[in-house]
């Protein structure tokens, strides 16, 4: 019915949500004592090292930080191309 109202209100998230999302990231970096930029270059180096040994699907690589209680977890999902696959090429 009042879809334009929904659109107007949903476009801008409530400020508390914004605070929470921003804090999540800030706390991860504070706890690890690493900046966003350093985290980015760490990811790139991880990919580079792994690529030296196996062929990976660079575009599908996912490296993220998860909060687990007061611990942070570096979660890497790195798809490896199968040998047969690369050989046939």
């Amino acid at each position: 019915m009042s879809s334009w109202v929904d659109k107007l209100t949903s476009r801008k998230p409530k400020s508390a949500e914004a605070a929470k999302e921003r804090l999540k990231l800030v706390l991860i970096h504070d706890r690890m004592d690493i900046t966003q930029v350093e985290l980015e270059s760490m990811k790139n180096e991880i990919i580079e090292v792994i690529s030296r040994y196996v062929v990976i699907d660079q575009d599908a690589v996912r490296i993220s930080m998860n909060q687990d209680g007061r611990e942070n977890r570096l979660v890497a999902d790195i798809p490896i191309r199968s040998k047969s696959h690369s050989r046939t090429r």
Binding site: A19, K20, V26, L27, G69, R70
Partner: protein, 267 residues
């Protein structure tokens, strides 16, 4: 008898540590406990005015530590309560006048005679903070539902863990339920999820705090005030009572969510 030493700290300044210390001290004393509170904010003495005892100071914490008076002489008795004492901070000295081992020694001496020793910590993560937690058996971290206060609380919680004084417990102070309902203030479950530590109290934003602080009569003495009830609930929890987290003006189901969270919270 051996007292429990509890330090009230925060990271960020102005979040309500001194107010909390004064109110918990009065509440615990009102429950018949022998309580001494120590103002650890050397150079920025404040607990005395919040408790309304500023006119009675003769000696202070540094006088005790440097041997200019006996411990008993620096303990100001609050006559409103059966057994409540304040050891004020020195006003004209700085934090380097006290060391962590001084605090441990002082508290060991007090432990014999008291049920509770509450230490009001200065803001920050340096010497004053280390002094304040040195003797602590438990640490309460006061924070506000606001980005910079939560961030600094997280920092201090990490330091408390590193000093093997953890896990700290959280007091979320100055919660404004109207703002929360509007979606413009972090909610209790949000803060607990971010900080991932146990909650020991939720204190609403309450004008009665300002009024009572003006008079030097901690708000717990006003048994009708929302903040007063919240502080006395924290004191009861400190004593091991199982006091449910009920909020006087909450009809939004927050506490359903919260109790669900606590139940599934894993500990």
């Amino acid at each position: 008898m051996s007292a429990s030493v509890s330090t009230i700290t925060s990271g960020k300044g102005g979040v309500g540590k001194t107010t909390t210390t004064a109110n918990l001290a009065v509440a615990l004393a009102g429950m018949g406990k022998k309580v001494v509170c120590i103002d650890g904010d050397i150079g920025l003495r404040n607990l005395d005015v919040v408790l309304g005892l500023e006119n009675r100071i003769v000696y202070d914490l540094v006088d005790v530590i440097e041997g200019r008076c006996r411990l008993r002489q620096a303990m100001i008795r609050d006559k409103r309560m059966p057994e409540l004492y304040l050891i004020p901070a020195a006003q004209t000295r700085d934090k380097s006048a006290v060391s962590p081992s001084d605090m441990v020694r002082l508290c060991d001496e007090l432990r014999e005679e008291m049920d509770w020793i509450l230490i009001d910590s200065p803001a920050g993560i340096e010497r004053g903070f280390r002094n304040a937690i040195a003797a602590a058996d438990s640490v309460l971290v006061v924070t506000n539902p606001e980005v910079s206060a939560v961030r600094d609380a997280d920092r201090i919680i990490g330091l408390i863990e590193a000093e093997e004084k953890g896990p700290a417990k959280i007091i979320l102070n100055r919660v404004n339920q109207n703002l929360v309902k509007r979606g413009d203030m972090l909610d209790v479950p949000d803060v607990l999820e971010l900080l991932a530590v146990e909650l020991i109290g939720i204190v609403p934003e309450d004008e009665a705090v300002t009024v009572s602080t003006n008079r030097g009569q901690p708000v717990v003495l006003d048994s009708h005030s929302k903040a007063g009830i919240a502080f006395s609930n924290i004191a009861r929890r400190m004593n091991g009572e199982d006091v449910p987290f009920v909020n006087m003006d909450d009809k939004s189901g927050l506490f359903d969510r919260l109790s669900r969270m606590l139940r599934t919270g894993g500990d």
